[in-house]
Amino acid sequence: MRISIVFADDVGSQLLHGIFSWEFLQFLVAFVSFFGFVLTSAALLVLAERKVMGWMQDRLGPIHTGPWGLLQTLADVGKLLLKEDIQAGQTDKALFILAPSVFLAPIIAAFAVIPFSPYVGLPGTALATGIVYYVAMSSIDVIGVIMAGWGSNNKYSLMGGLRSAAQMISYELPLVLALVSIVMLTSVLAGGNSGIGTISIKEIMDFQNVWPAKGVGIPVLDFIFQGFTPWAWFFLVQPLMLVIYYTCGLAETNRAPFDLPEAESELVAGYLTEYSGLRWAIFFLGEYGNMTIVSAITTYLFLGGWSGPGVNYLLGLGALGWGFLGNLLAVTYFITKVYLLCFVFIWVRSTLPRLRADQLMQFAWLILIPTTLFNILITGLIYLVISSFGLGGFTNLVFMIVIAIVNWAMFFAFIKIVQRATTATTRRAQAPAIRAQLRASSGAQLPERAGVPGGQ
């Protein structure tokens, strides 16, 4: 009894201290921002997608609800909320009802590792596991999709669910391997101190800032470039990994051209076929949330995160007002970058047709995984070679430049290889036609029929 009371007392005081601390407030702000951000971002993206696709397809998009159709998403949400919740007979009730939540929860949870600005984000070392945590969360998604596919008791849903299981698991590998090369870069850059890299997203972002911490003393330059050094962003060093990560992101989020699980023209709506109303809306929310998180991770790992002119300078001033302004600027830069990447998602969707399931698998296993593995190998090799020259303080710089050159070369080689591979596979598919053509090289001609009315 006593022990438990003491224990409870202790916990109580800890809780009390926890609640009235700045850190807890930061937790609260972060949580509200994540959740609100996922919801509003999905609403915005739906509208943006319709408008952007409308613009690309020479049409207007929604225009009637509100000024320029801005309230269209609101009206859609209202409709979805009021819709009857239909459950087809013979479904596996538990799976059918649980599936949307299982799909959405990990996506919102994945946002936990993403800092939005120097202040809005989980504090300090709360999630130092960064990338690993994100990858784990994004792999859990697939369970929701399989549950939906199986629980719906519909052949189209089942095929959609199985397709997406195969697809998400296959593309998980090159996605992780592409991220590994970034982690390797950080471990090289940290070489002077410890030689241990980082998987924390915030710290990876800091590695992309090469401006001296105290500034150079010229206020204008300091204002612009403190914390904002685009020439050191990792997309310049590893462009191929950016492309591969982004491609895998497309596949992970089931977006075109990898939208086979919900391929409208083949599987009606894939695993979503039997869903309607709010449950369908949750899946939809999850898809757009996923899109946002892939873009956000890309932003942090390759595009310098929230860094932009003025952020670090204003924070460095130490005043509350300036700090607030700095945070606001950081959030703005971050969200702008994220939405630019989302725009690429939409752009790709309105341009490319869909791949076939077996081609999709081939692309992952025969092209993406070997390429990423090779990239890891070559990054390590180059570092070994360059560090053996003993260049002293210039090792890192030389290494980065060499890596960048090699990776850009690989980038263009990759495009060529993909083109060649496509041609080769289609050649093989066309082989019977070519053989038949050789057999009957004189094009067959139908005999003219004489005496047919309508002839000359």
Binding site: K155, S265, P353, A436
Partner: protein
């Protein structure tokens, strides 16, 4: 009963190594399915994602057009022909009017023939645009259909100026056409084609060089020359298999006797070749339209025919090269005001027969790729 035929399909059952049973799956695709181009129903037997067998079930859009034709005066039937292949009404009307004219042994004036050639080729362009656009939707690209429909819209607007109606134009008459061109219509036509050529070039950039598109279509749905002829395929389907056969050249009718056509043939025999043939035919049709506009002769637009037209007793078969193949009208008259029988030989109906043959062994995703490349119109399959 055709509808219940899926009950007596035999599904193979296999027992795996660990006592896990696997069974072939029966998938009912359509009649309510986004990519069956209307209300076609396919009963697919699948092993995993591979198609083992396929049975098309048709008849969901049967409206009895041939029977209606028997119950309408000869001139009145023209309007119902619009609804057979509803993507190319002008060409249907040309076939029907041509059949009646052939039976009556009359020849429309030269100007009427050239007008028919012009509107017919425009209709062919419109039909091919729909074919290409919907095909790309089947493959998962959403943009091309909106671009092609934008251009098709231009053609339909020109038809509206011509016949008063956009879709069911009802523009042809036995012995000629309904109206002469409105003022400035030819100029608008020229302007449209100038713009359209630019749009087509843009469309080719979007689709033709795309690696994913090529990977999805090349080598898929292959059919060789002999089989294509054996199945009675016509139109782009046949020409994509390397058979040089086009009724506009091989059995020229009306103005095609004076205007030579470059027949577009490709040897590959796959979905890509069919798409390519359609695209090339659009370019060829643009050229033909320009030729027709340049050579447009003067004179009357029709011979005087009585409204209560009574074709002489007899029968005839008249076929034209429609956008989808040989569109024939078999016309029997008993000398009265009403046709005794008007039978259509629809290209979509005949081309659809080859579908099970094409699908066998391909994947589920290829089903829509192959079916889209047939370019069938269910309105004409079921009539």
């Amino acid at each position: 009963m055709a509808i219940n035929q899926d009950t007596n399909v035999n599904l193979m059952e296999e027992e795996g190594s660990e006592g896990i049973k696997s069974q072939e799956m029966l998938l009912n695709m359509g009649p309510q399915h986004p990519s069956t181009h209307g209300v076609l129903r396919l009963v697919l037997k699948l092993e995993g994602e591979t198609v083992v067998d396929c049975t098309p079930v048709i008849g969901y859009l049967h409206r009895g057009i041939e029977k209606i034709l028997e119950n309408r005066p000869v001139m009145g039937g023209i309007r119902y022909m619009d609804n057979a292949d509803y993507l190319s009404p002008m060409l249907n009307e040309i076939a029907y009017a041509g059949a009646v004219e052939q039976l009556m042994g009359m020849e429309p004036p030269r100007r009427a023939q050239y007008i028919r050639l012009l509107v017919g080729e425009m209709q062919r362009i419109a039909s091919h645009l729909v074919a290409v656009g919907t095909y790309l939707v089947d493959l998962g690209a959403f943009t091309p259909i909106l671009w092609t429909f934008r251009d098709r819209e231009g053609i339909l607007s020109l038809f509206e100026a011509l016949g008063g109606s956009r879709f069911n134009v009802n523009y042809l008459r036995v012995g000629g056409v309904l109206h002469d061109f409105p003022k400035n219509w030819l100029k608008e036509c020229e302007a449209f084609f100038d713009q359209f050529e630019k749009n087509m070039a843009e469309l080719e950039v979007l689709i033709t060089g795309n690696e994913i598109f090529e990977a999805r279509t090349q080598g898929v749905g292959y059919i060789d020359q002999q089989q294509a002829i054996a199945y009675g395929l016509t139109g782009p389907m046949l020409r994509a298999s390397g058979v040089n056969w086009d009724l506009r050249v091989n059995r020229p009718y009306m103005a095609y006797r004076e205007v030579p056509v470059n027949v577009q043939v490709r040897q590959e025999g796959d979905c890509y070749a069919r798409y390519k043939v359609r695209m090339q035919e659009i370019w060829e049709s643009i050229r033909l339209c320009r030729v027709a506009m340049d050579k447009m002769p003067g004179g009357p637009i029709g011979t005087r025919t009585p409204i209560a037209l009574r074709p002489p007793r007899g029968e005839t078969y008249f076929a034209i090269e429609s956008s989808k193949g040989e569109l024939g009208v078999y016309f029997i008259s008993d000398g009265s005001e009403y046709p005794w029988r008007a039978k259509l030989r629809g290209p979509s109906f005949v081309n659809l027969q080859v579908l099970p043959e094409l699908l066998r062994g391909y994947k589920m995703s290829d089903v829509v790729a192959i079916m889209g490349s047939l370019d069938i119109v269910l309105g004409e399959v079921d009539r």
